[in-house]
Amino acid sequence: METPDNNTLIRINDLHYSRGNRKILEGVNIEIPRGGITTIMGPSGCGKTTLLRLIGGQLKPQSGSLSVDGQIVQRLNNHDLYQLRKRMGMMFQSGALFTHLSVFENVAFPIREHTHLTEEMIRTLVLMKLEAVGLRGARDLYPAELSGGMSRRVALARAIALDPMLMMYDEPFTGQDPITVGVIMKLIRLLNDSLGMTTVIVSHDVQEVCAISDQLYMIADGKVAGEGNPEELQQTETESVYQFMHASPDGPVPFHYPAIPFEQDLLQDLEL
Protein backbone atom coordinates (compact mmCIF):
# COMPACT_ATOMS: atom_id res chain seq x y z
CA MET A 1 0.00 0.00 0.00
CA GLU A 2 1.21 3.46 -0.91
CA THR A 3 0.85 6.41 1.42
CA PRO A 4 -2.45 8.08 0.49
CA ASP A 5 -1.87 11.40 -1.20
CA ASN A 6 -4.08 14.26 -0.04
CA ASN A 7 -4.36 15.71 -3.50
CA THR A 8 -4.23 12.72 -5.83
CA LEU A 9 -6.89 10.01 -5.66
CA ILE A 10 -5.79 7.90 -8.62
CA ARG A 11 -2.18 7.50 -9.69
CA ILE A 12 -1.35 5.47 -12.80
CA ASN A 13 2.31 4.81 -13.53
CA ASP A 14 3.68 3.26 -16.71
CA LEU A 15 0.61 1.09 -17.17
CA HIS A 16 0.67 -1.60 -19.85
CA TYR A 17 -2.31 -3.68 -20.83
CA SER A 18 -2.71 -6.09 -23.75
CA ARG A 19 -5.57 -8.27 -24.91
CA GLY A 20 -4.10 -11.27 -26.65
CA ASN A 21 -1.49 -9.92 -29.05
CA ARG A 22 -3.14 -6.52 -29.25
CA LYS A 23 -1.53 -3.82 -27.13
CA ILE A 24 -4.23 -1.55 -25.70
CA LEU A 25 -2.29 0.63 -23.27
CA GLU A 26 1.46 1.15 -23.53
CA GLY A 27 3.01 3.06 -20.67
CA VAL A 28 0.14 5.29 -19.58
CA ASN A 29 0.80 7.83 -16.81
CA ILE A 30 -2.19 9.63 -15.32
CA GLU A 31 -2.83 11.45 -12.05
CA ILE A 32 -6.39 12.22 -11.07
CA PRO A 33 -6.80 14.82 -8.34
CA ARG A 34 -9.40 14.57 -5.61
CA GLY A 35 -12.60 16.54 -5.83
CA GLY A 36 -12.45 17.44 -9.51
CA ILE A 37 -13.81 16.18 -12.79
CA THR A 38 -11.20 14.50 -14.95
CA THR A 39 -12.05 13.28 -18.41
CA ILE A 40 -10.18 10.68 -20.41
CA MET A 41 -10.78 11.21 -24.11
CA GLY A 42 -9.71 9.42 -27.21
CA PRO A 43 -10.97 7.83 -30.39
CA SER A 44 -13.17 4.75 -30.24
CA GLY A 45 -11.25 1.62 -29.35
CA CYS A 46 -8.27 3.44 -27.84
CA GLY A 47 -8.71 1.79 -24.44
CA LYS A 48 -10.72 4.36 -22.48
CA THR A 49 -13.27 1.90 -21.10
CA THR A 50 -10.46 -0.58 -20.49
CA LEU A 51 -8.82 2.05 -18.32
CA LEU A 52 -12.00 2.42 -16.23
CA ARG A 53 -12.16 -1.34 -15.79
CA LEU A 54 -8.51 -1.33 -14.72
CA ILE A 55 -9.27 1.36 -12.14
CA GLY A 56 -12.19 -0.73 -10.87
CA GLY A 57 -10.01 -3.84 -10.67
CA GLN A 58 -12.09 -5.78 -13.21
CA LEU A 59 -8.98 -6.15 -15.35
CA LYS A 60 -5.38 -6.58 -14.29
CA PRO A 61 -2.56 -4.77 -16.07
CA GLN A 62 0.46 -6.68 -17.40
CA SER A 63 2.83 -4.16 -15.84
CA GLY A 64 2.93 -0.77 -14.19
CA SER A 65 0.98 0.32 -11.17
CA LEU A 66 -2.45 1.76 -10.57
CA SER A 67 -3.35 3.05 -7.13
CA VAL A 68 -6.66 4.35 -5.86
CA ASP A 69 -6.61 6.20 -2.56
CA GLY A 70 -3.16 4.78 -1.85
CA GLN A 71 -4.15 1.15 -2.55
CA ILE A 72 -2.49 -0.58 -5.47
CA VAL A 73 -5.51 -2.11 -7.16
CA GLN A 74 -3.89 -5.09 -8.88
CA ARG A 75 -2.33 -6.27 -5.62
CA LEU A 76 -5.56 -6.25 -3.62
CA ASN A 77 -7.12 -9.56 -2.65
CA ASN A 78 -10.78 -10.16 -3.41
CA HIS A 79 -12.01 -8.93 -0.03
CA ASP A 80 -10.02 -5.70 -0.11
CA LEU A 81 -10.96 -5.08 -3.74
CA TYR A 82 -14.65 -5.40 -2.89
CA GLN A 83 -14.14 -3.04 0.09
CA LEU A 84 -12.57 -0.51 -2.28
CA ARG A 85 -15.38 -0.93 -4.81
CA LYS A 86 -17.93 -0.05 -2.13
CA ARG A 87 -16.42 3.43 -2.28
CA MET A 88 -16.66 3.58 -6.07
CA GLY A 89 -19.62 4.17 -8.33
CA MET A 90 -19.72 3.45 -12.02
CA MET A 91 -22.25 4.37 -14.64
CA PHE A 92 -22.00 2.09 -17.65
CA GLN A 93 -22.66 3.25 -21.19
CA SER A 94 -25.72 1.00 -21.42
CA GLY A 95 -26.98 1.90 -17.96
CA ALA A 96 -26.83 -1.82 -17.09
CA LEU A 97 -29.99 -1.68 -15.00
CA PHE A 98 -31.30 -4.96 -13.62
CA THR A 99 -34.17 -5.67 -15.96
CA HIS A 100 -36.16 -7.74 -13.46
CA LEU A 101 -36.17 -4.96 -10.86
CA SER A 102 -38.16 -1.71 -10.80
CA VAL A 103 -36.43 1.67 -10.78
CA PHE A 104 -36.87 1.84 -7.00
CA GLU A 105 -35.43 -1.64 -6.47
CA ASN A 106 -32.52 -0.92 -8.80
CA VAL A 107 -31.47 2.07 -6.73
CA ALA A 108 -32.14 0.20 -3.49
CA PHE A 109 -30.01 -2.77 -4.62
CA PRO A 110 -26.57 -1.61 -3.38
CA ILE A 111 -28.09 -0.23 -0.18
CA ARG A 112 -29.77 -3.53 0.60
CA GLU A 113 -26.58 -5.46 -0.22
CA HIS A 114 -24.19 -3.43 1.88
CA THR A 115 -26.17 -1.97 4.78
CA HIS A 116 -28.60 -3.18 7.40
CA LEU A 117 -30.88 -0.18 7.22
CA THR A 118 -34.59 -0.45 7.89
CA GLU A 119 -37.04 -0.45 4.97
CA GLU A 120 -38.16 3.03 5.97
CA MET A 121 -34.62 4.40 5.79
CA ILE A 122 -33.94 2.62 2.51
CA ARG A 123 -37.11 4.20 1.09
CA THR A 124 -36.00 7.65 2.21
CA LEU A 125 -32.52 7.19 0.75
CA VAL A 126 -33.79 5.86 -2.57
CA LEU A 127 -36.30 8.69 -2.93
CA MET A 128 -33.53 11.22 -2.19
CA LYS A 129 -31.31 9.74 -4.90
CA LEU A 130 -34.16 9.59 -7.39
CA GLU A 131 -35.13 13.16 -6.56
CA ALA A 132 -31.53 14.21 -7.26
CA VAL A 133 -31.77 12.82 -10.80
CA GLY A 134 -35.36 14.01 -11.27
CA LEU A 135 -36.96 10.56 -11.49
CA ARG A 136 -38.76 10.20 -8.18
CA GLY A 137 -42.01 9.91 -10.11
CA ALA A 138 -40.66 6.99 -12.15
CA ARG A 139 -39.89 4.80 -9.16
CA ASP A 140 -42.39 2.08 -10.07
CA LEU A 141 -41.41 1.78 -13.72
CA TYR A 142 -39.30 -1.08 -15.05
CA PRO A 143 -36.15 -0.56 -17.19
CA ALA A 144 -38.01 -1.65 -20.35
CA GLU A 145 -40.38 1.31 -19.84
CA LEU A 146 -37.60 3.92 -19.64
CA SER A 147 -36.01 5.99 -22.39
CA GLY A 148 -32.23 5.80 -22.88
CA GLY A 149 -31.68 9.05 -21.01
CA MET A 150 -33.91 7.99 -18.12
CA SER A 151 -32.07 4.66 -17.87
CA ARG A 152 -28.78 6.49 -17.47
CA ARG A 153 -30.20 8.78 -14.82
CA VAL A 154 -31.49 5.78 -12.87
CA ALA A 155 -28.08 4.14 -13.28
CA LEU A 156 -26.55 7.35 -11.95
CA ALA A 157 -28.89 7.37 -8.94
CA ARG A 158 -27.92 3.75 -8.26
CA ALA A 159 -24.21 4.48 -8.62
CA ILE A 160 -24.37 7.27 -6.03
CA ALA A 161 -26.63 5.32 -3.67
CA LEU A 162 -23.79 4.70 -1.20
CA ASP A 163 -22.21 8.17 -1.64
CA PRO A 164 -18.98 6.96 -3.27
CA MET A 165 -15.70 8.85 -3.07
CA LEU A 166 -15.07 8.12 -6.76
CA MET A 167 -17.64 8.21 -9.53
CA MET A 168 -16.79 6.86 -12.99
CA TYR A 169 -18.85 7.48 -16.11
CA ASP A 170 -18.42 5.39 -19.24
CA GLU A 171 -19.51 7.40 -22.32
CA PRO A 172 -22.37 9.16 -20.51
CA PHE A 173 -23.45 11.30 -23.49
CA THR A 174 -23.29 8.78 -26.32
CA GLY A 175 -26.52 8.40 -28.27
CA GLN A 176 -28.49 10.91 -26.21
CA ASP A 177 -30.66 13.79 -27.41
CA PRO A 178 -29.44 17.34 -26.66
CA ILE A 179 -31.82 17.80 -23.74
CA THR A 180 -30.67 14.58 -22.07
CA VAL A 181 -27.04 15.51 -22.71
CA GLY A 182 -27.66 18.84 -20.97
CA VAL A 183 -29.36 17.12 -18.03
CA ILE A 184 -26.55 14.59 -17.62
CA MET A 185 -23.88 17.32 -17.84
CA LYS A 186 -25.66 19.31 -15.16
CA LEU A 187 -26.06 16.26 -12.94
CA ILE A 188 -22.40 15.24 -13.22
CA ARG A 189 -21.19 18.70 -12.20
CA LEU A 190 -23.83 19.12 -9.50
CA LEU A 191 -23.29 15.73 -7.90
CA ASN A 192 -19.52 16.07 -8.01
CA ASP A 193 -19.60 19.42 -6.24
CA SER A 194 -22.42 18.77 -3.79
CA LEU A 195 -21.29 15.27 -2.71
CA GLY A 196 -17.58 16.13 -2.72
CA MET A 197 -16.77 13.22 -5.00
CA THR A 198 -13.98 12.74 -7.49
CA THR A 199 -15.30 12.18 -10.99
CA VAL A 200 -13.69 10.35 -13.89
CA ILE A 201 -15.43 10.50 -17.25
CA VAL A 202 -14.53 8.49 -20.29
CA SER A 203 -15.93 10.09 -23.40
CA HIS A 204 -15.28 11.17 -26.95
CA ASP A 205 -17.80 14.04 -26.88
CA VAL A 206 -15.38 16.97 -26.99
CA GLN A 207 -17.83 19.86 -26.56
CA GLU A 208 -19.61 18.34 -23.60
CA VAL A 209 -16.57 17.24 -21.63
CA CYS A 210 -14.76 20.52 -22.25
CA ALA A 211 -17.74 22.30 -20.71
CA ILE A 212 -17.70 20.40 -17.41
CA SER A 213 -14.19 19.01 -16.93
CA ASP A 214 -11.45 20.46 -14.78
CA GLN A 215 -8.77 18.34 -16.39
CA LEU A 216 -8.52 16.32 -19.59
CA TYR A 217 -6.32 13.46 -20.73
CA MET A 218 -6.23 12.43 -24.35
CA ILE A 219 -5.24 8.86 -25.15
CA ALA A 220 -4.05 7.82 -28.60
CA ASP A 221 -2.10 4.75 -29.70
CA GLY A 222 -2.15 3.42 -26.15
CA LYS A 223 -0.33 6.44 -24.73
CA VAL A 224 -1.26 9.78 -23.22
CA ALA A 225 -1.05 12.14 -26.19
CA GLY A 226 -2.06 15.27 -24.35
CA GLU A 227 -3.21 16.58 -21.00
CA GLY A 228 -4.30 19.80 -19.36
CA ASN A 229 -7.39 21.86 -18.80
CA PRO A 230 -9.89 22.24 -21.67
CA GLU A 231 -8.36 25.50 -22.96
CA GLU A 232 -4.84 24.07 -22.97
CA LEU A 233 -5.91 20.97 -24.83
CA GLN A 234 -7.88 22.97 -27.41
CA GLN A 235 -4.69 24.88 -28.22
CA THR A 236 -2.40 21.85 -28.34
CA GLU A 237 -0.64 21.48 -31.67
CA THR A 238 0.17 17.78 -31.30
CA GLU A 239 -1.21 16.11 -34.42
CA SER A 240 -3.33 13.42 -32.78
CA VAL A 241 -4.76 15.83 -30.19
CA TYR A 242 -5.48 18.44 -32.85
CA GLN A 243 -7.25 15.93 -35.06
CA PHE A 244 -9.44 14.74 -32.21
CA MET A 245 -10.24 18.14 -30.69
CA HIS A 246 -11.10 19.62 -34.09
CA ALA A 247 -12.84 16.54 -35.47
CA SER A 248 -10.63 16.25 -38.59
CA PRO A 249 -11.62 13.24 -40.69
CA ASP A 250 -8.03 12.33 -41.57
CA GLY A 251 -4.78 12.53 -39.63
CA PRO A 252 -2.84 10.20 -37.33
CA VAL A 253 -6.10 8.27 -36.94
CA PRO A 254 -6.53 7.43 -40.64
CA PHE A 255 -9.83 7.45 -42.48
CA HIS A 256 -9.01 4.06 -43.99
CA TYR A 257 -8.60 0.86 -42.03
CA PRO A 258 -5.15 -0.57 -42.86
CA ALA A 259 -5.29 -2.49 -46.15
CA ILE A 260 -3.28 -3.28 -49.26
CA PRO A 261 -3.47 -0.63 -52.03
CA PHE A 262 -6.93 -0.33 -53.61
CA GLU A 263 -5.70 -1.07 -57.18
CA GLN A 264 -3.94 -4.22 -56.04
CA ASP A 265 -7.06 -5.32 -54.20
CA LEU A 266 -9.22 -4.85 -57.30
CA LEU A 267 -6.79 -6.80 -59.48
CA GLN A 268 -6.71 -9.62 -56.94
CA ASP A 269 -10.47 -9.86 -57.15
CA LEU A 270 -10.24 -10.08 -60.94
CA GLU A 271 -7.68 -12.88 -60.76
CA LEU A 272 -10.07 -14.86 -58.58
Binding site: Q58, K86, M88, F92, S94, A96, T99
Partner: protein
Protein backbone atom coordinates in the same frame (compact mmCIF):
# COMPACT_ATOMS: atom_id res chain seq x y z
CA UNK B 1 -3.05 -33.09 -43.90
CA UNK B 2 -0.83 -30.95 -41.70
CA UNK B 3 -3.65 -28.41 -41.37
CA UNK B 4 -6.01 -31.14 -40.28
CA UNK B 5 -3.65 -32.19 -37.48
CA UNK B 6 -3.11 -28.59 -36.47
CA UNK B 7 -6.87 -28.06 -36.31
CA UNK B 8 -7.31 -31.21 -34.26
CA UNK B 9 -4.58 -30.12 -31.85
CA UNK B 10 -6.04 -26.64 -31.53
CA UNK B 11 -9.54 -27.99 -30.87
CA UNK B 12 -8.22 -30.43 -28.28
CA UNK B 13 -6.32 -27.71 -26.48
CA UNK B 14 -9.40 -25.48 -26.47
CA UNK B 15 -11.51 -28.33 -25.14
CA UNK B 16 -9.08 -29.01 -22.28
CA UNK B 17 -8.78 -25.32 -21.52
CA UNK B 18 -12.56 -24.91 -21.40
CA UNK B 19 -13.01 -28.01 -19.25
CA UNK B 20 -10.43 -26.67 -16.82
CA UNK B 21 -12.21 -23.33 -16.72
CA UNK B 22 -15.52 -25.07 -16.07
CA UNK B 23 -13.96 -27.05 -13.21
CA UNK B 24 -12.56 -23.89 -11.61
CA UNK B 25 -15.96 -22.27 -12.07
CA UNK B 26 -17.55 -25.19 -10.22
CA UNK B 27 -15.17 -24.63 -7.30
CA UNK B 28 -16.08 -20.94 -7.22
CA UNK B 29 -19.77 -21.89 -7.12
CA UNK B 30 -19.18 -24.28 -4.22
CA UNK B 31 -17.41 -21.49 -2.36
CA UNK B 32 -20.37 -19.20 -3.06
CA UNK B 33 -23.03 -21.62 -1.83
CA UNK B 34 -22.74 -20.77 1.91
CA UNK B 35 -23.73 -17.18 1.11
CA UNK B 36 -27.24 -18.48 0.33
CA UNK B 37 -27.77 -18.98 4.05
CA UNK B 38 -27.90 -15.18 4.35
CA UNK B 39 -30.14 -14.83 1.29
CA UNK B 40 -32.59 -17.75 1.32
CA UNK B 41 -35.05 -15.65 -0.68
CA UNK B 42 -32.80 -15.89 -3.74
CA UNK B 43 -32.91 -19.69 -3.60
CA UNK B 44 -36.68 -19.75 -3.10
CA UNK B 45 -37.16 -17.47 -6.10
CA UNK B 46 -35.02 -19.72 -8.30
CA UNK B 47 -36.72 -22.87 -7.00
CA UNK B 48 -39.94 -21.33 -8.22
CA UNK B 49 -38.72 -20.29 -11.66
CA UNK B 50 -36.59 -23.40 -12.28
CA UNK B 51 -38.59 -26.06 -10.46
CA UNK B 52 -42.21 -25.00 -10.11
CA UNK B 53 -42.48 -23.51 -13.59
CA UNK B 54 -41.10 -26.75 -15.08
CA UNK B 55 -43.89 -28.77 -13.47
CA UNK B 56 -46.32 -28.47 -16.37
CA UNK B 57 -43.98 -29.92 -18.98
CA UNK B 58 -42.81 -32.65 -16.60
CA UNK B 59 -46.33 -33.72 -15.61
CA UNK B 60 -47.65 -33.74 -19.18
CA UNK B 61 -44.58 -35.59 -20.49
CA UNK B 62 -44.64 -38.06 -17.60
CA UNK B 63 -48.30 -38.81 -18.15
CA UNK B 64 -47.96 -39.40 -21.90
CA UNK B 65 -44.77 -41.46 -21.53
CA UNK B 66 -46.49 -43.58 -18.87
CA UNK B 67 -49.57 -44.07 -21.05
CA UNK B 68 -47.51 -45.07 -24.09
CA UNK B 69 -45.36 -47.36 -21.98
CA UNK B 70 -48.46 -48.98 -20.52
CA UNK B 71 -49.90 -49.61 -23.96
CA UNK B 72 -46.68 -50.94 -25.48
CA UNK B 73 -45.83 -53.17 -22.55
CA UNK B 74 -49.35 -54.57 -22.36
CA UNK B 75 -49.22 -55.59 -26.02
CA UNK B 76 -45.92 -57.39 -25.44
CA UNK B 77 -46.75 -58.96 -22.09
CA UNK B 78 -50.13 -60.33 -23.16
CA UNK B 79 -48.36 -62.60 -25.67
CA UNK B 80 -46.76 -64.36 -22.70
CA UNK B 81 -49.89 -64.19 -20.56
CA UNK B 82 -48.14 -62.03 -18.07
CA UNK B 83 -50.05 -58.78 -18.43
CA UNK B 84 -50.35 -58.66 -14.63
CA UNK B 85 -46.66 -57.74 -14.60
CA UNK B 86 -47.43 -54.42 -16.28
CA UNK B 87 -47.13 -52.51 -12.99
CA UNK B 88 -43.57 -53.56 -12.10
CA UNK B 89 -42.33 -53.36 -15.70
CA UNK B 90 -43.53 -49.79 -16.11
CA UNK B 91 -42.45 -48.77 -12.61
CA UNK B 92 -38.93 -50.17 -13.02
CA UNK B 93 -38.52 -48.55 -16.44
CA UNK B 94 -39.60 -45.20 -15.10
CA UNK B 95 -37.90 -45.19 -11.72
CA UNK B 96 -34.59 -46.62 -12.88
CA UNK B 97 -34.16 -45.03 -16.30
CA UNK B 98 -36.83 -43.02 -18.04
CA UNK B 99 -37.76 -40.82 -15.09
CA UNK B 100 -34.27 -39.45 -14.32
CA UNK B 101 -33.06 -39.35 -17.95
CA UNK B 102 -36.11 -37.83 -19.62
CA UNK B 103 -36.58 -35.36 -16.77
CA UNK B 104 -32.97 -34.23 -17.13
CA UNK B 105 -33.38 -33.77 -20.89
CA UNK B 106 -36.66 -31.87 -20.48
CA UNK B 107 -35.17 -29.86 -17.63
CA UNK B 108 -32.26 -28.83 -19.82
CA UNK B 109 -34.61 -27.73 -22.61
CA UNK B 110 -36.99 -25.86 -20.35
CA UNK B 111 -34.95 -24.52 -17.40
CA UNK B 112 -31.27 -25.02 -18.34
CA UNK B 113 -31.56 -23.09 -21.57
CA UNK B 114 -33.45 -20.32 -19.76
CA UNK B 115 -30.74 -20.08 -17.10
CA UNK B 116 -28.01 -19.90 -19.75
CA UNK B 117 -29.86 -17.24 -21.73
CA UNK B 118 -30.59 -15.20 -18.61
CA UNK B 119 -27.00 -15.22 -17.33
CA UNK B 120 -25.62 -14.70 -20.83
CA UNK B 121 -27.86 -11.70 -21.43
CA UNK B 122 -26.97 -10.27 -18.03
CA UNK B 123 -23.35 -10.53 -19.12
CA UNK B 124 -24.04 -8.99 -22.54
CA UNK B 125 -25.88 -6.04 -20.98
CA UNK B 126 -23.16 -5.41 -18.37
CA UNK B 127 -25.42 -6.39 -15.48
CA UNK B 128 -22.80 -8.79 -14.14
CA UNK B 129 -20.05 -6.17 -14.51
CA UNK B 130 -22.10 -3.53 -12.73
CA UNK B 131 -22.74 -6.01 -9.93
CA UNK B 132 -18.99 -6.56 -9.55
CA UNK B 133 -18.46 -2.80 -9.50
CA UNK B 134 -21.05 -2.56 -6.72
CA UNK B 135 -18.92 -5.02 -4.74
CA UNK B 136 -21.52 -7.77 -5.16
CA UNK B 137 -20.14 -11.11 -6.33
CA UNK B 138 -22.27 -12.33 -9.27
CA UNK B 139 -21.26 -15.92 -8.54
CA UNK B 140 -22.91 -15.67 -5.13
CA UNK B 141 -25.82 -13.46 -6.17
CA UNK B 142 -26.71 -14.86 -9.61
CA UNK B 143 -25.00 -18.20 -10.25
CA UNK B 144 -25.10 -20.06 -6.91
CA UNK B 145 -28.89 -19.78 -6.35
CA UNK B 146 -29.65 -21.04 -9.86
CA UNK B 147 -27.15 -23.88 -9.54
CA UNK B 148 -28.50 -25.09 -6.18
CA UNK B 149 -32.11 -24.66 -7.29
CA UNK B 150 -31.36 -26.92 -10.28
CA UNK B 151 -29.80 -29.59 -8.09
CA UNK B 152 -32.76 -29.55 -5.69
CA UNK B 153 -35.43 -29.34 -8.40
CA UNK B 154 -34.31 -32.11 -10.73
CA UNK B 155 -34.71 -35.10 -8.35
CA UNK B 156 -38.09 -33.78 -7.25
CA UNK B 157 -39.21 -33.32 -10.84
CA UNK B 158 -37.91 -36.81 -11.73
CA UNK B 159 -39.92 -38.29 -8.84
CA UNK B 160 -42.96 -36.40 -10.11
CA UNK B 161 -42.33 -37.66 -13.65
CA UNK B 162 -42.13 -41.28 -12.50
CA UNK B 163 -45.21 -40.99 -10.24
CA UNK B 164 -47.33 -39.41 -12.96
CA UNK B 165 -45.97 -41.92 -15.50
CA UNK B 166 -47.07 -44.84 -13.31
CA UNK B 167 -50.46 -43.20 -12.98
CA UNK B 168 -50.64 -42.86 -16.78
CA UNK B 169 -49.85 -46.54 -17.33
CA UNK B 170 -52.42 -47.45 -14.63
CA UNK B 171 -55.06 -45.43 -16.48
CA UNK B 172 -54.32 -47.24 -19.73
CA UNK B 173 -53.52 -50.69 -18.34
CA UNK B 174 -56.19 -51.01 -15.67
CA UNK B 175 -58.72 -48.45 -16.86
CA UNK B 176 -58.77 -49.23 -20.58
CA UNK B 177 -57.15 -52.61 -21.18
CA UNK B 178 -58.51 -54.53 -18.20
CA UNK B 179 -55.36 -55.46 -16.22
CA UNK B 180 -56.26 -56.49 -12.69
CA UNK B 181 -56.13 -53.54 -10.32
CA UNK B 182 -54.78 -55.50 -7.34
CA UNK B 183 -52.16 -57.31 -9.44
CA UNK B 184 -50.93 -54.02 -10.91
CA UNK B 185 -50.13 -52.51 -7.51
CA UNK B 186 -49.20 -55.64 -5.53
CA UNK B 187 -46.71 -56.86 -8.14
CA UNK B 188 -45.22 -53.41 -8.32
CA UNK B 189 -44.87 -53.33 -4.54
CA UNK B 190 -43.29 -56.78 -4.63
CA UNK B 191 -40.82 -56.24 -7.48
CA UNK B 192 -39.68 -52.67 -6.99
CA UNK B 193 -37.02 -52.42 -4.30
CA UNK B 194 -36.70 -49.21 -2.36
CA UNK B 195 -32.91 -49.32 -2.03
CA UNK B 196 -32.05 -51.06 -5.27
CA UNK B 197 -34.38 -49.15 -7.57
CA UNK B 198 -35.86 -46.02 -6.03
CA UNK B 199 -32.73 -44.84 -4.21
CA UNK B 200 -30.57 -45.54 -7.25
CA UNK B 201 -33.01 -43.58 -9.39
CA UNK B 202 -32.81 -40.67 -6.96
CA UNK B 203 -28.99 -40.85 -6.96
CA UNK B 204 -29.04 -40.74 -10.75
CA UNK B 205 -31.33 -37.72 -10.88
CA UNK B 206 -29.18 -35.92 -8.28
CA UNK B 207 -26.11 -36.54 -10.45
CA UNK B 208 -27.98 -35.35 -13.56
CA UNK B 209 -29.18 -32.28 -11.64
CA UNK B 210 -25.62 -31.38 -10.77
CA UNK B 211 -24.36 -31.83 -14.31
CA UNK B 212 -27.31 -30.09 -15.99
CA UNK B 213 -27.13 -27.10 -13.61
CA UNK B 214 -23.37 -26.86 -13.90
CA UNK B 215 -23.49 -26.81 -17.70
CA UNK B 216 -26.35 -24.28 -17.74
CA UNK B 217 -24.69 -21.75 -15.43
CA UNK B 218 -21.23 -22.19 -16.93
CA UNK B 219 -22.40 -21.75 -20.51
CA UNK B 220 -24.26 -18.57 -19.51
CA UNK B 221 -21.34 -17.13 -17.57
CA UNK B 222 -18.82 -18.07 -20.24
CA UNK B 223 -20.98 -16.93 -23.18
CA UNK B 224 -19.55 -14.49 -25.70
CA UNK B 225 -21.46 -11.32 -24.74
CA UNK B 226 -23.25 -10.83 -28.06
CA UNK B 227 -26.63 -11.88 -29.42
CA UNK B 228 -25.04 -14.69 -31.40
CA UNK B 229 -22.83 -15.71 -28.48
CA UNK B 230 -25.80 -16.10 -26.13
CA UNK B 231 -27.73 -18.00 -28.78
CA UNK B 232 -24.82 -20.42 -29.28
CA UNK B 233 -24.39 -20.83 -25.53
CA UNK B 234 -28.06 -21.73 -25.13
CA UNK B 235 -27.79 -24.36 -27.86
CA UNK B 236 -24.60 -25.74 -26.28
CA UNK B 237 -26.38 -26.09 -22.94
CA UNK B 238 -29.06 -28.34 -24.41
CA UNK B 239 -26.66 -30.39 -26.56
CA UNK B 240 -23.92 -30.80 -23.95
CA UNK B 241 -26.42 -31.67 -21.24
CA UNK B 242 -27.96 -34.35 -23.45
CA UNK B 243 -24.54 -35.91 -24.14
CA UNK B 244 -23.45 -35.63 -20.51
CA UNK B 245 -26.68 -37.09 -19.12
CA UNK B 246 -26.77 -40.01 -21.55
CA UNK B 247 -23.08 -40.79 -21.00
CA UNK B 248 -23.37 -40.48 -17.24
CA UNK B 249 -26.51 -42.62 -17.29
CA UNK B 250 -24.61 -45.48 -18.89
CA UNK B 251 -21.79 -45.21 -16.35
CA UNK B 252 -24.14 -45.02 -13.37
CA UNK B 253 -26.29 -47.86 -14.68
CA UNK B 254 -23.18 -50.01 -15.13
CA UNK B 255 -22.10 -49.24 -11.56
CA UNK B 256 -25.54 -49.69 -9.99
CA UNK B 257 -26.99 -52.59 -11.94
CA UNK B 258 -24.00 -54.05 -13.81
CA UNK B 259 -23.45 -57.02 -11.49
CA UNK B 260 -27.12 -58.13 -11.30
Amino acid sequence: MMNWFQGLGRSSLLLFERTGRAALFQIRIFMGLPSLIRHPGLLVHELYSIGVLSLAIIVISGLTVGMVLGLQMYNTLIDFGSEDSLGPVVALSLVRELGPVLTALLFSGRAGSAVTAEIGLMKATDQLSVMEMMAVDPIKRVVAPRYLAGIISLPLLAAMFSAVGILGSYMVGVGLLGVDDGAFWSQMQDKVSFEGDIVNGVVKSCAFGMVASWIAVFEGYDAVPTTEGVSRATTRTVVHTAFAVLGLDFILTAIMFGDN
